[in-house]
């Protein structure tokens, strides 16, 4: 557990970057610090490993004041990942990852062996081990940065906008990877970003800071979206928050109605309405329009592209947001529900989603 007790940071030039911050960061969870540029996120994060010294107040890690340890010793027990990774250009990927264990006295060979395992952990092929940072893509560098921070298996990981310098697709990959990693490792992660979507996607809890280093709200993402405490937070959380809040509600209970399907290559019957066309493994290929006049076999050229798919596995139903989106984006107005293998299991309509939402609201599951 990391505890900020009325921590203030005033820089030499008089800038108050963090003002009387009280914050309790839970063990084994991802806590995201988010807020506009210059609001003191980086400063707060760097006070935890004493890269910045607090002007007043106390920071406790597992109940112990961080000032009771020498900075270097403290930092060796805390993973640190920054924007652009900050890899050492003169060292190979493997030696970059092995840095902290070697600092801590692990034998070089053992540290390298551990580093190789970490390549697997962060989803990098082992062939990259002998490369130098300059020979990696931005996304790969960032993964190496994460592996390097994990090398000494620290319980706490500090991450300062680690994914903000890569393109959106890669960023999405890296976020998924972090969530997967976290589900296996259960670290205490403090994650800084200025991107509210990233905060909501990754955070178990999100702390919104306002400029001047004041804590505006500290809550779960669902509560933040549903009940921002003031206009600043509401503005920061952004538009469409009602819609995005659906992402936190389970679509369990949404009716999946049977859907008539045709297989590609089959002779077309007389069409009576929108029909889903599937391949031989029942994976959806597109829609046959109600007005279509296909004669003979159905070919791909006859199909209208479908919308997003709603994955309704029996074990883990998707979110209300996924279900609603599939319905709204479908040309027929009916979203296609598929199972984990991608085979069509039925259709969902916007109506059925809203009915479940209504029920959830009445039962008090949704804060209102």
């Amino acid at each position: 557990m990391i505890e900020f007790q009325s921590v203030t940071k005033r820089y030499d030039d008089g800038t108050v970057a963090v003002d009387e911050l009280d914050l309790t960061i839970d063990d084994g969870k991802i806590t995201v610090l988010v807020g506009p540029s210059g609001c003191g996120k980086t400063t707060s994060l760097r006070m935890i490993n004493r890269m910045v010294e607090a002007s007043s107040g106390t920071i406790l890690v597992d109940g112990a004041d961080i000032r009771s340890q020498r900075p270097a010793a403290l930092r060796r027990g805390i993973g640190y990942v920054i924007q652009n990774a900050g890899l050492f250009p003169h060292r190979t990927v493997l030696d970059n990852i092995a840095t902290v264990p070697i600092l801590l006295g692990t034998k070089k060979a053992a540290a390298r062996r551990r580093a190789e395992e970490l390549l697997d952990t962060v989803g990098l092929p082992r062939e990259l081990a002998k490369r130098y940072p300059a020979q990696l893509s931005g996304g790969q560098q960032q993964r190496v940065g994460v592996a390097r921070a994990l090398a000494a298996d620290p319980p706490v990981l500090l991450m300062d906008e680690p994914f903000s310098a890569v393109d959106p697709v890669v960023r999405d990959d890296l976020q998924e990877e972090l969530l997967r990693l976290q589900s296996e490792l259960g670290k205490t992660i403090v994650f800084v970003t200025h991107d509210i979507d990233e905060a909501i996607k990754l955070g178990d809890k999100v702390a919104v800071l306002r400029v001047g280093g004041k804590l505006a709200q500290y809550d779960t993402p669902a509560t933040l979206l549903a009940k921002p405490v003031d206009d600043f937070v509401a503005g920061f959380v952004g538009r469409d928050r009602g819609y995005r809040a659906l992402g936190f509600l389970s679509a369990h209970g949404v009716e999946v109605a049977p859907l008539s399907t045709l297989t590609l290559g089959e002779p077309a019957p007389v069409v009576t309405g929108w029909t889903v066309v599937v391949d031989e493994r029942r994976r959806p290929l597109g829609w046959l329009s109600a007005k279509s006049t296909v004669e003979g076999e159905i070919r791909s050229a006859d199909l209208v592209a479908g919308g997003s798919l709603y994955v309704a596995d029996s074990t883990a139903a998707g979110s209300l947001r996924a279900a609603l989106d599939s319905a709204l984006s479908s040309p027929s107005g009916t979203g296609i529900a598929v199972d984990a293998e991608g085979a069509v299991v039925g259709g969902v309509t916007a109506d059925s989603v809203l009915k479940v939402l209504d029920a959830a609201r009445r039962s008090g599951e949704v804060p209102s």
């Binding site: 270097a72 900050g86 003169h90 390097r148």
Partner: protein, 234 residues
Amino acid sequence: MSIFDQISAWLSDPDHWKTTLGIAGIPQRLAEHVQYTVLAVVIAAVIAIPLGAYIGHTGRGGTLVVGIVNSFRALPELGLLILLVLVMGLALALEAVTIALVLLAIPVLLAGTYAGVRNVDRAAVDAARGMGMSEWQVLVKVELPNALPLIFGALRSATLQVIATATIAAVVSLGGFGRYVIDGNSQREFDQMAAGAVLIAALAIVAELLLAGVQWLVVSPGLRKNSRGRARVR
């Protein structure tokens, strides 16, 4: 006989390769020239590299370094040499010349080391501290290895400058290859002058190639130009 034939005749004359009757042969002149150069470069490096690294690491005094380097570039080598020899006396000519050479090499090395350390990716340095390296470890394990290309660049410039200035040291009656140019000039023996010039150029080129070779061996492959164009600093 063309001048090129004269040079090769002069160079292949066995008499010029032996030291006889107190007249130094090519090997001895080479040894002298190398001795002046190595001594001066080593002394300058011992002073300038740690100082440059310290200034680069702390960032304090950077403008001073740049100022010193710029003003030294304007100083005429010949004048510095002559003045130091006169002040210290001809009996201490070797010491005077060494001091002059060291003084010329220090600014180059200081600037190169300073720029090298200063130019290391700030994110890498930040990460190094964040991982729990001590200041000394940050300098030795991260900043200096990354500064090596620029430090070597400075070492090469400094060595070339010292070789060139050591040539001029013949004016104040020191040995080295410069003697052939000075003596050839005063004795109106152009073949000797030209052969001396060829020897000097060859020495400089060999020294440059040697240092480039050492740099290739010592600097991490991750820092080579083709892997990512790094800003060059003069």
